[in-house]
Amino acid sequence: MADADRDRDPTAGGALGAEALERVFREEHGRLTAALVRSLGDWDLAEELVQDALVAALEHWPRDGIPENPGAWLMTTARRKGIDRLRREARYRDKLAQLQEEPVAASTAHEDERLELIFACCHPALPRESQIALTLRSVVGLTTAEIARAFVTPEATIAQRLVRAKRKITEAGIPMRVPTADELPDRLSEILGVLYLMFNEGYLASASPERRDLAEDARWLAGLIVRLMPDEPEAIGLLALMTLQLARAAARFSPEGRLILLEDQDRSRWDARAIAEGVAQVERAGRMRRPGPYQVQAAIAACHAEAASWADTDWTQIVMLYEGLTRMTGSSVVRLNHAIALAHVAGAARALAEIDEMKDELDRYHLYHATRAAFLRDLDRPDDAREADRRALALTDNPAEQALLLERIGA
């Protein structure tokens, strides 16, 4: 460890906050994984060495301070641990050569290869659930146990998912590189899709405190994509959307864990600084003049976040944004949201007529029935409204939504 200790910055010594350590680990975990996967071509070995290096850092840094260049310290340590490990295992001879040959200079400034790593983790040849698990494991650095808790899935299932994904990457020849220009739009939207799903998994479940907050992890990843690909407006749009939704997170649940709808939320509990940040991101993306669905969703979230009260909401603007989004996506769920906004501009009768047209497509979707119920209540048809709420209740597994619906039905 003598060499690594030389990298230490004496001014960085002193008390070492757990937060500072976590921040460094979060940045360096993915960078180190990316660099090692690239040089070794072996995901499992790379993961073990990253783990070894982080354990070593946990031993040394609290005592000696975070080194000036933590990435280089970790890389040097990982390489040394790797050499030790490989010497013991003859079958790894060629990899040993790779670790020994690489000039040390390259390691002190190893470039950020996390983007390549993310493109590999979110490759369309992997199933969606594996893309999510592998990204959380390799890029964010969550343990298998943490991922399992986040998805309320047995750890063995997640472990097997990760093993299969890594095997497919190696055996099918999934590359670790940024795709060519003509492939890039599709591949980037694949990544954004993975992150949005990850975000929703966390955001919708935030009622149960023992679960890890995947929404924050997803936002961190979206921020990372934006830092690494600053000219992609849809990535910025997704980051803005997540920022704006998380800005309202504190007001979404009552102290007893009950879901509070946007209309009834205490807006003083919204995070004003995060809202300003999200709005600035929406504007930054908009200036690039390449609109897309995430940017429009972020713009809608910004309209809500900037309204002083439910009554002050700019519904006309929101209706227009939903019209644009419907054109872009052709999604019936988007049309449903359009109808909700329309109810504020043109009345519940108009909105009800609009959603009744979507019955065939959305009959299995609980929010379709919950929305109908809201319109029916506004139109003084309480019996029909209760019937629609019952239908919604039968279609959702989410405890917070179930509680809200039960309350409405008056059961």
Partner: protein
Amino acid sequence: MKYMLMFISDDSSWDPSKPEVQAAYKRIGEWFEEHTKSGKITGGEELKATNTATTVRQRNGKITVTDGPFAESKEAIGGYALVDVKDLDEAVAMAKTWPTLTAIEIRPLVEH
């Protein structure tokens, strides 16, 4: 890496007397020529229609010979190309330019 691209199609509509099928053959010929010149293709053939297929199967130690392809489906493998490219992305890029694309299964070859 070496892969096999398996071209999957519904051969019931594949009538070589039709002008559009002849045009497709021409484009397929060009596709093979282009990728053979660049050194990516190491082999490939077109298969006759599935109504010429015979399947030999072993089940519970008993061998049977039956008429038809192994899977009862409208879509079947109609041909293949063996390619040697850098990685899966390059194989996918080739597959996307296949002139009569319905579906293509890409499988890495076991390298002994």
